[in-house]
């Protein structure tokens, strides 16, 4: 599989990444080479094989849904790049006056 410039920019948009124009071509080529290698999997006959998404072999652990306070709001907001002491602050989302 080879990625052209548009494919690559689409992937960047999906990933919320914007690599500098000077490295885009190199990154696209690296990704293309890696994906070309991945095509090796087509050699394997997987007819009827169930995908294995997790090696967990025990049953899902159920527990009572009990509310637990694990942290204080102030401790969590202390790591925020911007906060008003009660909420995370981000750039305006709804345009207007």
């Amino acid at each position: 599989m080879s990625l052209d410039k548009n494919d690559f920019l689409h992937l960047c948009r999906l990933s919320r990444l914007a690599p500098d124009a000077s490295v885009q071509e190199e990154m696209a080529q690296q990704c293309s080479r890696i994906l070309a290698y991945m095509d090796k999997l087509a050699e394997v006959d997987t007819t009827g094989v169930e995908p294995l998404y997790s090696p967990v072999i025990h049953e899902s652990a159920f527990r009572d849904d009990v509310a637990v306070r694990r942290a204080e709001r102030s401790d969590i907001l202390a790591d925020a790049p911007a906060s008003d002491g009660a909420f995370f602050i981000v750039p305006r989302i709804v345009e207007g006056k």
């Binding site: 990625l3 992937l11 990444l17 990154m27 998404y53 652990a61 204080e72 202390a78 790049p81």
Partner: protein, 489 residues
């Protein structure tokens, strides 16, 4: 008598227990060793020298009469920077987490503290555990204590370098595709990737959640068994952690004096690999001969889908990474770009400025293999191959008790030697990552030297059968003369 810092964890722990050495003395000895060695190897990121000394002093003052439930009382340890430690910067060696001080401890950190360990600081690593050299850290490069012009391996390279340089008695690393076993091998120490689910991932910054597992790096197998004993077990905050009871690893270690009755399987595809270095092959032969001399039987086994492991792993791990790393958006913690035009701009620029090149590549690849039109051809297909690889292991382990194999195809290589070619770097993980696909446990033990550099071999076993790996690894390292070795730094 050997310097305090060169003792094994158990020896040091016992001295503190007997009152022959105080926790403060042991901690001060490690801090002094860090002062001497850190300028040469750069294994640590955030440090807590003063706090550690204070804790050790307080422990000496308030020492309980019964230390039986404090198996690590007074023992200085470090943890990889991918584990949260309340109040200490935790970055996963990424700029995106610059300044992040987690408000909670990882489950494994909580367990270390409860066991009486003194945590000295955080170890350097490849950013978000993506890499095999520790050269992909946003902060600094870590050197191999056996030869400081070479890499320590990765991604838990800082942990392995700390342990090999006697800065601490144990370090916790994480292994997603070999990130404990490979640096342990390249730095001549012991490292175990437990069975998936054996150790809670709560507080482990996620890279690929269906692969990630925390485990110890130490200088002896016994020490690794003790630390795993402390950190293993079910945790209600990680639903993938297993309810299977944790056996007494220490008791299992001393049950027998030899390896009679055990059968070791040698995977044909690993030993026949083109890139296998002669020195590594020799170390494996030595380990096989040691196993035979201890009464074990050795048979050849096959893992027929080995050649597809790299493709399967890098598709699935990239997919999981692209999803896990979506949370880093500059909103709640870590790096935020300076002057975003709008919200989307803030996400995109914060992430682009914060993530290094290898992390960005894996996010892009992950987005690709999960996107409409490619999902079946890549993601689903890779998961099907994953099942076949797991089945290979289960079949092989019907004919033997454990597999014995190389860890890394070559000993530690020169810094900068491979970092330009990501695919070439992925090939270095050929012997480790299939075990993560299968979710089974693997113990890397030092087996010898090749041109002055340590070489490890790994023992891979059945799910939740770490006891057997420890028992065999302990006897093999003692026979091979690699028990409690450290770098001549």
């Amino acid at each position: 008598m050997a310097a305090l810092t060169e003792l094994s964890l158990l020896e040091a722990r016992d001295l503190v227990r007997k009152g022959e050495v105080s926790a403060e003395e042991l901690t001060a000895a490690c801090l002094k060793r860090i002062e001497e060695t850190e300028p040469k190897i750069g294994a640590l990121l955030a440090r807590r020298d003063e706090e550690a000394l204070e804790e050790a002093r307080a422990m000496d003052k308030n020492r309980p009469a019964d230390l039986s439930d404090k198996p690590l009382w007074g023992v200085p340890v470090t943890v990889k920077d991918v584990l949260t430690l309340k109040g200490l910067p935790t970055t996963a060696a990424s700029k995106i987490l610059e300044g992040f001080c987690p408000p909670y401890d990882a489950m494994v950190v909580e367990k270390l503290k409860n066991a009486g360990a003194v945590i000295l600081g955080k170890n350097n690593m490849d950013e978000f555990a993506m890499g095999s050299t520790t050269e992909h850290s946003a902060w600094k490069v870590t050197a191999n204590p056996w030869d400081v012009t070479r890499v320590p391996g990765g991604s838990s390279g800082g942990s392995a370098a700390s342990v090999a340089a006697c800065q601490c008695f144990a370090s916790l690393g994480s292994d997603t595709g070999g990130s404990i076993r490979q640096p342990a091998s390249l730095c001549g120490c012991v490292g175990i990737k437990p069975t998936y689910g054996r150790v809670s991932r709560y507080g482990l910054l996620a890279y690929a959640s269906s692969f990630d597992q925390v485990g110890p790096l130490t200088r002896t197998v016994e020490d690794a068994a003790l630390v795993l004993q402390v950190i293993a077990g079910h945790d209600r905050r990680d639903s993938t952690s297993s309810p299977v009871p944790v056996p007494d690893y220490g008791a299992a270690l001393h049950k027998k004096s030899d390896l009679s009755g055990l059968t070791f399987g040698l995977p044909r595809e690993f030993f026949g690999h083109d890139g296998l270095d002669a020195g590594v092959a020799k170390a494996c032969d030595d380990a096989v001969n040691a196993a035979r001399s201890l009464g074990a039987k050795v048979v050849e086994v096959s893992l027929p889908h080995t050649e597809y492991a790299i493709a399967s792993y890098y598709i699935l791990a990239a997919a999981e990474a692209s999803s896990n790393l979506a949370r880093y958006d500059g909103v709640r913690y870590g790096h935020r770009t300076a002057n975003p035009k709008n919200l989307e701009d803030m996400y995109t620029l914060s992430r682009t400025e914060g993530f290094g090149a290898e992390v960005q590549r894996r996010i892009l690849l992950g987005s690709y293999v999960l996107s409409a039109g490619y999902y079946d051809a890549y993601y689903r297909k890779a998961a099907q191959v994953r099942r076949l690889i797991r089945q290979d292991y289960l079949n092989a382990l019907e004919n033997c008790d454990m597999l014995l194999a190389p860890v890394s195809p070559v000993p530690a290589w020169q810094m900068g030697h491979m970092s330009d070619d990501p695919l070439q770097m992925y090939f270095m993980d050929i012997f480790t990552l299939s075990l993560n696909l299968a979710g089974l446990p693997g113990l890397s033990i030092p087996a010898g030297m090749s041109s002055g550099l340590p070489v490890g071999v790994q023992l891979m076993g059945r799910a939740f059968d770490e006891s057997q790996l420890f028992a065999a690894g302990d006897k093999l390292t003692r026979t091979l003369g690699t028990h409690n070795q450290h770098a001549p730094l």
